[in-house]
């Protein structure tokens, strides 16, 4: 009973992550790369993503304190953040990265700051949800 219940919860959670746009098809691609010999591949990749993302955010935090902003540098960091977000299917985070880069291209400091705040929020939400998801999957 217990196991069925947690399977259902897991499936429901996964569905909601997709329905609400947190994840896209790329996440499914990652799960499909799992097999008996590599049953936790998606989780391993996501863990790596969290590690890299923390670093990107910390670099961005530092860069955002500069005055004036170095838009080239910001864009460069965000390009990497966007890339890895895309690789794990983190759709909303990826969209925020894109928005941020648009503000960089326009050299709009205000826009960058707002967008960065939003990005950090989205990332925090995603991280929490994925951590819960993988907990359930154990």
């Amino acid at each position: 009973m217990d196991r069925n219940q947690s399977h259902r919860q897991l499936a429901a959670m996964k569905q909601s992550l997709f329905d609400q746009g947190y994840l896209d098809e790329q996440f499914i691609q990652l799960e499909e790369l799992q097999d008996d010999a590599n049953p936790h591949f998606a989780e391993e990749i996501v863990t790596l993503y969290f590690r890299d993302s923390s670093r990107f955010i910390s670099n961005l935090d530092q860069a955002m304190e500069r005055n004036p902003l170095d838009f080239g540098k910001l864009d460069s960091i965000m390009h990497q953040f966007k890339g890895s977000s895309s690789s794990i299917g983190a759709q909303k985070v990826k969209a925020e990265c894109t928005l941020f880069r648009e503000y960089c291209a326009a050299e709009n400091a205000e826009g960058c700051m707002r967008s960065f705040q939003q990005l950090k929020k989205e990332y925090a939400v995603l991280r929490k949800k994925l951590e819960t998801y993988f907990q359930l999957a154990k």
Partner: protein
């Protein structure tokens, strides 16, 4: 930035492979500065029955191949590389620069097919890479179907002297395992067929 564990991950011929169908000695050198992407491409290639070496920069790739001009004491890089897959945007040496260096070789290294991967669908970039001799240009995130299609036709030796044209699908909803081959939707007026020495592929111009 290099992480010791990540930089050289070698699959020596004698090492047992997870993949049940690893009957080919098809060795791919993958180059990407992103940890996440390195791990993903490595997995995609292993599932496709390839031996994989992943490095984190163009410089490391050249070192591995022994093309960096240094006296190379790494004995095992005589493990022949059948394909190079490189990210386009990397700090230091870009994938394009790596491609050029390889194609400018006077040695047999020039013959190794090079595939560029990029998250950005920029036609001028794609054209430039193909003109420089890239075998294929893949949009990231790279999918298993991309890798299978790629390794299949390279293993069949279709890279030299054949005018095979295919489209990389922009949307990844393909369920079938067979590669789709579509005619070119546009020709490049400034390139004559004779000046193209390798297979040309075109990405669907996605202006929707």
């Amino acid at each position: 930035m290099t992480i010791a564990g990540d930089v050289f991950r070698l699959n020596l011929p004698q090492v047992l492979d997870d993949s049940p169908s690893c009957s080919q000695d098809f060795h791919v050198l993958a180059v990407d500065d992103s940890h996440v992407d390195r791990k993903v491409i490595e997995r995609l290639l292993k599932i496709s029955s390839c031996k994989v070496t992943v490095v984190d920069s163009g410089t490391r790739a050249l070192q591995y191949l022994g093309l960096d001009g240094e006296q190379n004491s790494i004995g095992f890089n005589s493990a022949k590389v059948n394909l190079i897959m490189t990210d386009y945007s990397m700090p230091g040496m870009t994938g394009y620069e790596l491609l050029k260096k390889i194609k400018q070789e006077s040695s047999m290294f020039r013959e190794i097919p090079v595939v560029i991967m990029s998250s950005e669908n920029i036609l001028t970039r794609i054209d430039r890479c193909l003109e420089e001799g890239a075998e294929e240009f893949l949009l990231k995130p790279v999918k298993l179907s991309d890798v299978k299609r790629l390794t299949d036709f390279i293993m069949k030796g279709e890279t030299k002297g054949k005018e095979k044209r295919s489209h990389k699908r922009r949307r990844s909803d393909d369920q079938s395992s067979s590669p789709s081959t579509l005619p070119l939707s546009k020709s490049h007026p400034s390139l004559s067929p004779s000046s193209l020495s390798s297979k040309r592929s075109r990405l669907q111009a996605d202006f929707d």
